[in-house]
């Protein structure tokens, strides 16, 4: 299954109030696109629209996958909050999707994914016993279990400490390779490390910015990545 790209054209309103001006947003097929911008500018709303769960927002325009097949059922979303259900074990959380669809969970695949994210030893534990980084890795395994070609990330690493964040970023980049990823973030460093393409959503426009050279995830101490990070931060600060 090759992942399709995403094309969103139009403006967005919430309860009739304009939120996002007319924009043309693309996320290239099989690539990692970061969407930066100030709080309240509508970044998360874009992810919710693409997910099909934005009951509160209306898109005046079009939203399509580049292969012409409807987006429904092909999108997974991972948020800042890990959304692990406290009454289930880690494995049960990872296989939640199957239970919610009334199908038999693929236990083998769940075990493999937990192994990939380094949580095999915690498979039967309650999420309450996990650290922040472990919880986010469990959420990553649950997202991967859904096996959707498009993965939307809404600041999934922002609650983690710097060291853990870098580790989970690397792991996520490795495991999401080949999928179309659109990640919302506040953090220019994250965008500079992980993106194939960078977009900045301001109050009036959506601007594309070049990603640093080299394949993501780029080393945390790479000079060009760091300078791209600086330039992004300067531009974000210039926005009203």
């Amino acid at each position: 299954m090759t992942a399709p790209g995403i094309l969103l054209e139009g403006s967005v309103a919430i309860d009739g109030e304009p939120l996002i001006p007319p924009i043309r947003l693309t996320a290239a097929a099989g690539r990692w696109t970061c969407l930066l911008g100030a709080s309240g500018v509508g970044k998360s709303t874009i992810l919710r629209l693409i997910s099909g769960i934005a009951d509160e927002a209306t898109l005046n325009g079009t939203l399509n996958a580049t292969d012409g097949v409807p987006l429904a059922g092909r999108v997974a979303l991972m948020a800042q909050s890990d959304l692990l259900l406290p009454w289930l074990t880690v494995t049960q959380n990872v296989t939640l999707g199957a239970r919610l669809r009334g199908t038999v969970p693929d236990a083998r695949r769940a075990a493999d994914l937990l192994n990939d994210v380094g949580l095999s030893a915690q498979a039967d534990q309650s999420p309450a016993t996990l650290s922040g980084g472990q919880r986010q890795r469990a959420a990553l395994a649950r997202t991967l279990m859904e096996d959707r070609p498009i993965v939307l990330l809404d600041e999934p690493f922002s609650a983690l400490d710097a060291r853990t964040r870098a580790q989970v970023q690397d792991l996520t980049a490795q495991l999401l390779a080949g999928k179309t990823v659109l990640m919302v973030t506040h953090d220019p460093a994250e965008a500079a490390r992980l993106s194939d393409a960078i977009l900045i959503l301001g109050p009036d426009s959506l601007r594309a910015r070049p990603a640093p050279p080299g394949a993501p995830p780029r080393p945390v101490d790479d000079t060009q990545t760091l300078s791209a990070q600086g330039a992004l931060l300067a531009e974000l600060r210039a926005d009203p």
Binding site: G52, I53, G73, L85, W87, L96, G97, R99, L100, R101
Partner: protein, 245 residues
């Protein structure tokens, strides 16, 4: 253990104050019997009191089980269906404006002089707190969990079963804790209005014949029963339903 110690100490202080009051004022025993006399009656009439306690306990436990089941089902139905909310909820709230006490005579007429009317009475007393606590919890499911489930392709029924109900069980538990305290009140009201058995009947009979010591003995047994019932329900909830919080 420290908690148990403080409960015992507090009970001893209350008993001493009670005995002192009786000794100092010299009130006749049919107005206020002292704790020693009540304890003596509790022992000498133990078979009689035990017989009536068993009846009341059956009424309370049956009412509690039925009320919890019915309340749970109602809460889920209300949470699942906006139409049910529109039609049933105002009626449910209006029904609370009717004092359950006032219904007791008619319940006795409908369900008879025996255990049935008391079980229904108990059910009515606890139905609303259970429904209300569980329903509120069902309506407070974090939206992000529901969104995640929708994105995973879940039907509303499965979201209810796998997300909303498990997430709301601690709310159901708080309803059950309230119910454990209210349930004996329902059974006693039912017995007062018309019965030939049960602690409520025994209390009414004893005070009518100026056997105030027996009335107090039955009252103490009822209070202890209620406290134990609450403790058992609380323990059970902690070990099961609360874990989801």
């Amino acid at each position: 253990m420290r908690r148990a110690g403080s409960i015992i100490a507090s009970a001893l202080v209350a008993l001493a104050a009670w005995q002192a009051l009786v000794l100092l004022t010299g009130v006749p025993r049919f107005i206020l019997p002292g704790p020693a006399l009540v304890a003596e009656t509790l022992w000498t009439s133990r078979a009689l009191i035990a017989h009536h306690t068993v009846i009341t306990a059956i009424e309370v436990l049956a009412g509690l089980a039925l009320g919890a089941t019915l309340g749970g089902v109602t809460a889920i139905a209300l949470a699942a269906s906006p139409l049910a909310r529109q039609l049933v909820r105002p009626m449910l709230i209006f029904s609370q404006a009717v004092p359950v006490f006032a219904l007791a005579p008619i319940l006795t007429l409908w369900f008879g002089y025996g255990i049935g009317s008391k079980v229904v009475m108990t059910l009515l007393v606890i139905y609303f707190p259970v429904t209300s606590a569980f329903f509120d919890a069902l309506m407070r499911t974090p939206q992000a969990w529901i969104d995640m489930a929708r994105l995973m392709g879940a039907s509303p029924a499965r979201i209810m079963r796998h997300i909303r109900i498990p997430a709301a069980l601690p709310g159901f538990a708080s309803g059950l804790r309230l119910a454990a305290v209210y349930a004996p009140i329902g059974a006693i009201i039912g017995e007062w209005v018309g019965a030939s058995k049960g602690l409520g009947y025994l209390m009414l009979l004893a005070s009518g014949r100026a056997k105030t010591d027996l009335m107090f003995a039955a009252l103490i047994v009822l209070a202890v029963f209620t406290v134990l019932l609450h403790a058992v329900v609380d323990r059970t909830c902690r070990a099961t339903l609360d874990k989801n919080g």
